[in-house]
């Protein structure tokens, strides 16, 4: 259909121009903005992306995505050379990072296998329980994970002889990774696997009657989300030059959820938009408002966004876009006259 093609090419145009702006940004912004805002937003945004993927395409709201990221983070922290306290493994980054991502994917699958029979509030409670247990586990494990203090001096690999943590280098690595994972989510959502997931979200009984194993597909979705969150966990650990129980605390878990929700769960880009907004507010609120009470300001801003648009910033943008398109293309009254434009009540089973 011609309108579909026009829509696709215009959204491709938007994607290319946004990418161009993002590539140019570090040359315009100060290093503080590049590193402390944008890189931080991207590395945490990747974990939020994994949550959005599960929530939107699978209808599975999981609070255990920071656990998966933590598994990847702790894997590299306990295995690479240079980390303090010193470990006996001394595996180079080129092996430790793939290992971390594989273990994160496996733990994603495991969490999926545990949580697969539960839905909605019960899924939320089970994944929250997993998150809290993992936090206390890493805090209590002094022998390998160095307990409360965690593991420091995880500097990351060199990229073509340049340390990854060089500001520009880290920015572009984070950008390229974020974009690749974003593209992966879009690709998966359009594949047969992604369509089956969306079908399961709409009506699991129907999908099983069509010959699909609902449980296996849900577990696989947790695996894909684990892969994404694992890569996020590797970058978060290198960004923070180490990992401690604080990285996987309930506070971080909730932060990831907030990023996804204020960005909007209706589109994968929402995770990154939410992460940027969250990081900016989280960074500057203390300057704008009483140092002891800046959390109140953060809370009020989030409340305002969610009240104004329950489906987050992307939902707001979608509605504004529909409104504009409606003003331009459709004469008043056309919506009421054309039955195909009216949304029907979704059928349930």
């Amino acid at each position: 259909m011609s309108t579909g093609n026009a829509l696709r090419s215009s959204s491709a145009l938007v994607t290319v121009s946004v990418l161009a702006v993002l590539v140019a940004l570090p040359f315009v912004l100060t290093e503080f903005w590049t590193t402390n805002i944008l890189v931080r937003a991207m590395v945490y945004g990747i974990v939020a992306l994994s949550l959005t993927f599960l929530a939107y395409y699978g209808g599975l709201l999981s609070l255990a995505q920071m656990v998966v990221a933590g598994v990847a983070g702790y894997t590299i922290a306990v295995s690479v050379p240079g980390a303090i306290p010193e470990n006996s493994l001394q595996i180079p980054y080129s092996l430790a990072i793939p290992l971390a991502v594989v273990l994160a994917t496996v733990s994603g699958l495991l969490i999926g296998a545990i949580a697969v029979r539960t839905r909605e509030i019960y899924l939320l409670m089970i994944t929250l329980a997993i998150a809290v247990s993992f936090y206390f586990f890493v805090q209590a494990n002094v022998e390998y994970l160095n307990g409360y203090e965690g593991i420091r001096n995880v500097l990351g690999p060199d990229i073509f002889g340049v340390p990854l943590r060089t500001p520009y280098v880290f920015y572009f690595v984070a950008l390229a990774t974020s974009f690749a994972l974003y593209a992966l989510v879009l690709y998966v959502s359009g594949s047969q696997f992604g369509l089956v997931l969306q079908g399961i979200r709409d009506n699991p009984r129907r999908l099983s009657a069509l010959g699909y194993n609902v449980a296996h597909h849900r577990i696989a979705a947790f695996g894909v989300a684990g892969f994404i969150a694992g890569i996020g966990g590797v970058l978060i650990t290198i960004y923070n030059i180490g990992i401690s129980p604080g990285t996987v605390s309930t506070h971080s878990t909730i932060s990831i959820l907030i990023m996804s929700v204020i960005g909007g769960l209706g589109h994968p880009i929402g995770a990154f938009i939410g992460a940027v907004i969250f990081t900016i507010i989280d960074t500057f609120a203390a300057d704008l408002y009483d140092r002891d009470r800046f959390n109140t300001l953060i809370g009020v801003v989030f409340l305002a966004i969610v009240v104004a648009s329950p489906d987050g910033v992307t939902g707001l943008a979608k509605r504004a876009g529909d409104l504009l398109r409606g003003l331009r293309l459709i004469a008043p009254g056309a919506v009421a006259a054309d039955p195909t434009l009216q949304a029907n009540v979704p059928s349930k089973d």
Partner: protein, 234 residues
């Protein structure tokens, strides 16, 4: 092809199926009956979507009662459920890609679009934006793409305008020539008798009688006795 023997299903104290037996061969077979007689439960019981208390279901020589819907579907039975149950958030094209078995299967997406040109026109529309007739075509296509040996259709004519019911009858007759088995559950006697060669009449969870379609459509007394309706009144 499909043989159901003394099938019993209960929900709590209510015995919905009280020993149903029927045989579906190569010819289309219909089950007629008024509301609440257990027709939909029969469909669900064959598909494994409700627990079966006792009795047997044999399909293609293998026993399938008590198997999960996933396994039953993979053994070659597809269901077109009552009320269509298309996915509100997927487009027509996405529905078809979801179940497609590739270009070389007997039923491919291209063949579906050739058979139902209306669906090709509505490719990009969401499931909830389709009319009842279009949703029915989509639900039938979704079943066909699984390349089943047998299709169970639960009240396909429900909620369709009379002109669309005629179209549906044409479509079902065409499918009957495709060597796909058809178990048609219908309240609309005109649909049941024009598509199927034999019609089983269901009464309070039992098969009261199985009669040739031609005999049922001619015998108004029989219709009134079991169904309380006649083709003339429809």
């Amino acid at each position: 092809m499909l043989s159901v023997r003394d099938l019993r299903v209960s929900f709590g104290h209510a015995e919905i199926l009280q020993g149903v037996s029927l045989d579906v061969g190569d010819e289309p077979f219909a089950v007629a009956g008024r509301n609440g007689m257990g027709k939909t439960t029969l469909c669900y019981a064959i598909m494994g979507m409700v627990p079966v208390q006792s009795g047997g279901v044999v399909f293609d020589g293998a026993s399938i009662e008590g198997k999960s819907p996933t396994r039953v579907s993979r053994s070659g039975i597809a269901i077109v459920p009552q009320g269509r149950r298309v996915f509100p958030s997927l487009t027509v094209d996405e529905h078809l890609r979801l179940v497609s078995r590739g270009k070389n299967a007997a039923w491919s997406i291209e063949r579906v679009y050739d058979t139902f040109p209306r669906l090709a026109e509505r490719k990009g529309n969401g499931g909830s934006q389709l009319s009842g007739g279009e949703q029915q075509m989509l639900a039938i296509s979704r079943a066909l793409l699984l390349n089943p040996k047998l299709i169970i259709m639960d009240e396909p004519s429900e909620g369709l305008a009379p002109v669309l019911v005629d179209h549906l009858i044409e479509v079902l007759k065409k499918l009957a020539n495709e060597k796909i088995g058809l178990l048609l559950v219908e309240q609309n006697l005109r649909v049941a008798t024009s598509v199927a060669s034999n019609v089983a009449i269901m009464l309070s969870g039992r098969i009261a009688a199985t009669v040739p379609a031609s005999q049922l459509s001619a015998d108004e007394a029989l219709q009134r006795r079991y169904l309380g309706v006649s083709t003339g009144s429809h």
